[in-house]
Each structure stands twice: as C-alpha cells, then as structure tokens.
C-alpha cells in the first residue's frame, strides 16, 4: 500500500520533468553619455527527458527587474482652497524597473497563489507592509500608474512566443531613464497555472566612461566635485564675457 502511495506521489510530482534553459542578448548594459535606452533579447528552451505532457499547454513568464528601494507615495487633497499633500503611504520595497512578459492571458498563465509565492506580477513585486492604512492599494496602484507612464513598469501580456512548447523568445525595452544597479531576469515555466520550473540570471547595468567618473567623484569626493562645478561655472561665465568683448571690439 505504502509503495503504491509513494509511486502515486512520484507520478504526481512533475517537478523536474521539464527544465527551463535561457539566455539574454546582453548580460551587461553600459550607460554612456549618449545612452537612450536599450533592448534586451530574451530566448530560451525547455529541456525535458519525457515526451511533452498532453494535459495542458506550457506557458512561460519572464520578468526583468531593477534594484528595489523604499518609497513614499503621497496623495493630494483640497484643504482651505488649495491642493496639498494630505496622506502618504510608505512602500517598503519597489523595484526601480519592472517588466513582465507572458506567453498568454494572465489568468491562464499563472494562478494567484503562485503569483503570491514567486512575486511575479508588478503588484506582487512591490512590497508594502504599511498596508494597514485603509485604501493603501490606491497608493500602490498610483505608484504602478506613474511608473508605467514613464515606461519603468511594463506588463506585456502575450509578448512571449512559444514554439512547439519548447522554444521561446521575447524582448524587453529598457528606457533611457534607467538607474544603475544589479538587475535580475527571472524565467518561469507553468502548466495549469502552476510553476513547474524557474531560473534566474543577472544583468549588470553600469555607467561607464565619463558618466562613471563623474558619478563616482560626486560620491567619493563631494567637495572636489562641488569646487570643480563652481570652477567650470566661473570659467564659462568669464569666457562668455571675454568672447563678447572681442566680438564688440
């Protein structure tokens, strides 16, 4: 009896039956002076020992996220005739960039319980402990709305094409207002809305050259940086004045 039960359990667990193997067109993004966004091509395949299960179609989810940071979301309302910030909610962790792409409609691709567990959707990727305040979801929604308008949060339903339940590919557009940091790409394979395998890899987003030099200087030697800014300002002012004097003479 026990042996049959164990066998049943083994069959019921499709855990490692299908594995995701994935790659990115670039694992390092360099922010140069003329950086105006970048596109990452994402591709992958499903590795399996057994024939393709007939039960339900295979789905893929891909997320790309930037480093998280705490935020304050404020809401204005009218007091004494003027619009002022009256309420605020602290969001403990919100990614500076978040893109999620799916191979089909959300409800078919992943169940809510799995979304909650792996924090796949944008709403779940934002961690807000301050949810005690009533109506705090309005604040989280506002955060998503504002960032979506800046292309910092993207949800691309059906943007992944899956071939023969084996090969998949998509692309993520990184906007020009990208912040430096360690980005992360995550891949989820699902069947019946349940995650059967996942994989993650890093993308380093870094300022290079002059951008990097100035940024480091401003953090490491702020006084030197400040004095340099002033010197440039004074020199520019003087040069313009001298140039105009020549011009008029």
């Amino acid at each position: 009896m026990a042996r049959i039960l164990a066998l049943l359990l083994f069959l019921a667990l499709p855990a490692q039956a299908e594995e995701v193997i994935a790659g990115l067109s670039q694992s390092r993004i360099s922010i140069t002076t003329n950086f105006d966004g970048s596109e990452i091509l994402i591709f992958g395949a499903v590795k399996r020992e057994n024939p393709i299960p007939e039960t339900s179609p295979l789905h893929v989810l891909v997320t790309v996220e930037g480093p998280s940071e705490p935020l304050t979301v404020r809401r204005k309302s009218k007091r004494l005739g003027i619009w002022v910030n009256t309420a605020s909610v602290e969001v403990d962790e919100a990614p500076s960039f978040y893109a999620v792409a799916t191979s089909g409609p959300w409800s078919e691709v992943i169940q809510d319980i799995e979304d909650l567990r792996y924090r796949v959707s944008t709403l779940r990727a934002i961690r807000s402990v301050g949810a005690r305040i009533s109506g705090s979801e309005d604040f989280t929604n506002a955060l998503i709305r504002i960032r979506r308008n800046q292309d910092l949060y993207q949800t691309n339903i059906g943007a992944i094409s899956v071939e023969q339940q084996t090969l998949f590919s998509t692309s993520v557009q990184l906007p020009a207002n990208l912040h430096e940091g360690d980005y992360r790409a995550r891949f989820f394979l699902t069947r019946n809305g349940r995650v059967i395998d996942s994989y993650q890899t890093d993308i380093a987003v870094q300022k290079v050259g002059l951008e990097r030099f100035l940024f480091r200087l401003s953090r490491d030697k702020p006084l030197v940086y400040g004095l340099m800014s002033l010197a440039i300002a004074i020199a520019a002012g003087w040069m313009a004045s001298a140039a105009f004097r020549l011009f008029r003479a």
């Binding site: 705490p70 304050t72 204005k76 005739g81 910030n85 006084l223 340099m228 300002a233 520019a236 004045s241």
Partner: protein, 305 residues
C-alpha cells in the same frame, strides 16, 4: 541629441537644455535676477528630479551671474561696497535658512511651504513693482521728469553710517545687512539666488538707483549660489555637472545679450517687464495650488534616504 545625465539619471535633449539656458540667461542679464525662479520649475517640467534641479540650478546661476557681473563691472554699475555688506547678511541668512528648511522637512509639508512662499512673495513684489513702475512711466510720459525727493526716513537716522559712492548713498549699514539676511533665508528655503527679492528691496527699501541695483544684485548672487552649490554637492550629492554645463553654455551667452538689451531700456521699462514676469510665474504656481492636479499622487524618497 539625447544626453544621459550621470546624477539625475535621466536622458534629455541637449538642444532643449541649451535653449532653456539661453532664454533664462537673457532675462538674468536684463534684470539682475539669477533666473532660478524660472528655470527650476522648467527643469521639473522636463523631468529632472526636483532635488537635482534645485542644486544644479544654483551652480548654473553662478555662471550666468558671473558673466553678467563682468559686463556690469565694465560699465561701473556694481556697488562693491554695498554688495559686500549685502553678502555678509546673505550668507548668515542662507545658513539660518538651511536650518529652518531642515526643521520644516522634519514636520513634512516643506513642498507646500516652498510653493506658498513663492506665490506670496512673487505676488506681493510683482504687484507692487508693477503699480509703481506703471505710475513712474506715466509721469515721465507726461513730459517732465519728476525730481526724486530724498526721503529722510528710518534708513537715514540709524547709526553706523557708511558711504556707498557708486550708489550715491550715505546710509547706515544696518538696513542692507537686514535685507541681506532676509533674502538669504528666503533664498535657502526657496532654493533660488534671491535676485527677484533683492532687486526690489534695493530699489524701494535702500533707495539705490536702478542701474546700479542689477550689477550689485548679480555680484552678491554669485557668492550666495556658490555657497548653496557647495552645500548641495557635499550633503545631498545632487549637483549634476553635465546638466549644469549644458544650461550654463546657453546661460552665459544669454546673459551677455541680456545685459546689452538692459542697457538700452529705461529703468521704468526694465522694472515693469520684471514685474510682469514675476506675476506670470506667480500666476502659474497659484493655479497649480488652486486647481485639481491631473495626478493626485506623487512619488518621493523615504525621509532619511
């Protein structure tokens, strides 16, 4: 041509910034205002984070004021002695202002206070100047120049008198010091050079001739904004040098052109134009407070970050 700003961490059009800098520079040279009260809201509008906009703007004002002051020095329209007295007051005021700013930040609502003080001060100064210069303009149109009567008010009865030859004044140093401190406080709270407060204060409170006022105001603005730039660079790391360079290239050229235009205008015309400009900015900020914004929510860093 898009340029990625290393500190602001946004990508902006370089020509747009050059143009903005030039426009504000012209106004700066004409009126002796740093132009911060115009440029800072414009930078917010094109998507520069507010903290970076305020700090970088201070740095840009240094450049345009320096360029302007050199032009004024050539024409001998800078009262260095008066400028130094105002500056001493101004630095004390700026240090006080930073303290007040931080105290208000701890309570919250610092945004609102900055905005309200903009509306109130711009409104009062703008309307007073507008009415006064309109009257002056009408009188000179009437054909006869009104002899400026020297008022012997409080300004003349205080001790520590000093001769300000360039301004043609022999007054106590106390009023200019107080003006300097008050402007310094406001400048630090509002994140601007304070020229738009300083210029009218010099004309109406100290009784300085308009021609000298512009150069003298620019002279002291250089130092107050230079001080502010260093404070921002060392405490908040928010001075974006690439943004500053783009703005100041346009700004210094504009300031030179502005000084030329200013020299050709009558004092009354100059004042009425400045008043009109101040009122326009005031009106714009007031409507933002009075009407429902399209986005009620805003994002900000958590206090202490």
């Amino acid at each position: 041509m898009l340029v990625y700003l290393p500190i602001a961490e946004v990508s902006v059009n370089a020509f747009l910034l050059l143009g903005l800098g030039g426009m504000v520079g012209i106004l700066s040279g004409m009126f002796g205002v740093g132009g911060g009260f115009l440029m800072t809201p414009l930078l917010f509008f094109i998507g520069i984070p507010p903290a970076v906009a305020v700090a970088t703007e201070a740095n840009q004002i240094v450049a345009s004021s320096f360029s302007g002051v050199l032009a004024h020095l050539k024409r001998r329209t800078v009262d260095l002695r008066m400028g130094t007295v105002l500056l001493i007051g101004g630095l004390v005021g700026a240090a006080l202002g930073v303290q007040i700013f931080n105290a208000l930040k701890a309570i919250g609502q610092v945004d609102l206070l900055v905005r309200l003080s903009y509306v109130v001060f711009l409104g009062i100064i703008g309307s007073l100047m507008f009415v006064e210069s309109l009257n002056a303009l009408r009188k000179t149109r009437g054909g006869r120049t009104v002899p400026t009567r020297r008022k012997h008010g409080l300004v003349h009865s205080l001790p520590f008198k000093m001769k300000f030859r360039t301004s043609g004044l022999y007054i106590s140093v106390i009023p200019p010091l107080i003006v300097g401190v008050l402007v310094g406080i406001l400048a630090a709270i509002m994140g601007v050079g304070g020229g738009f407060i300083m210029v009218p204060a010099m004309i109406y409170i100290l009784g300085m001739p308009t021609k000298v006022v512009v150069g003298t105001s620019l002279f002291q603005i250089i130092f107050v904004t230079g001080f502010t730039t260093l404070l921002h660079a060392t405490t908040n790391y928010t001075v974006d040098i690439v943004l500053a360079v783009l703005l100041l290239v346009g700004g210094v050229i504009g300031a030179q052109i502005g000084t030329q235009i200013g020299a050709r205008l009558k004092a009354e015309q100059l004042r009425i134009l400045l008043a009109a400009m101040v009122l326009i900015v005031c009106g714009k900020l007031a409507t933002e407070l009075l009407f429902q914004p399209s986005e009620l929510y805003s994002l900000g860093a958590v206090a202490g970050h």
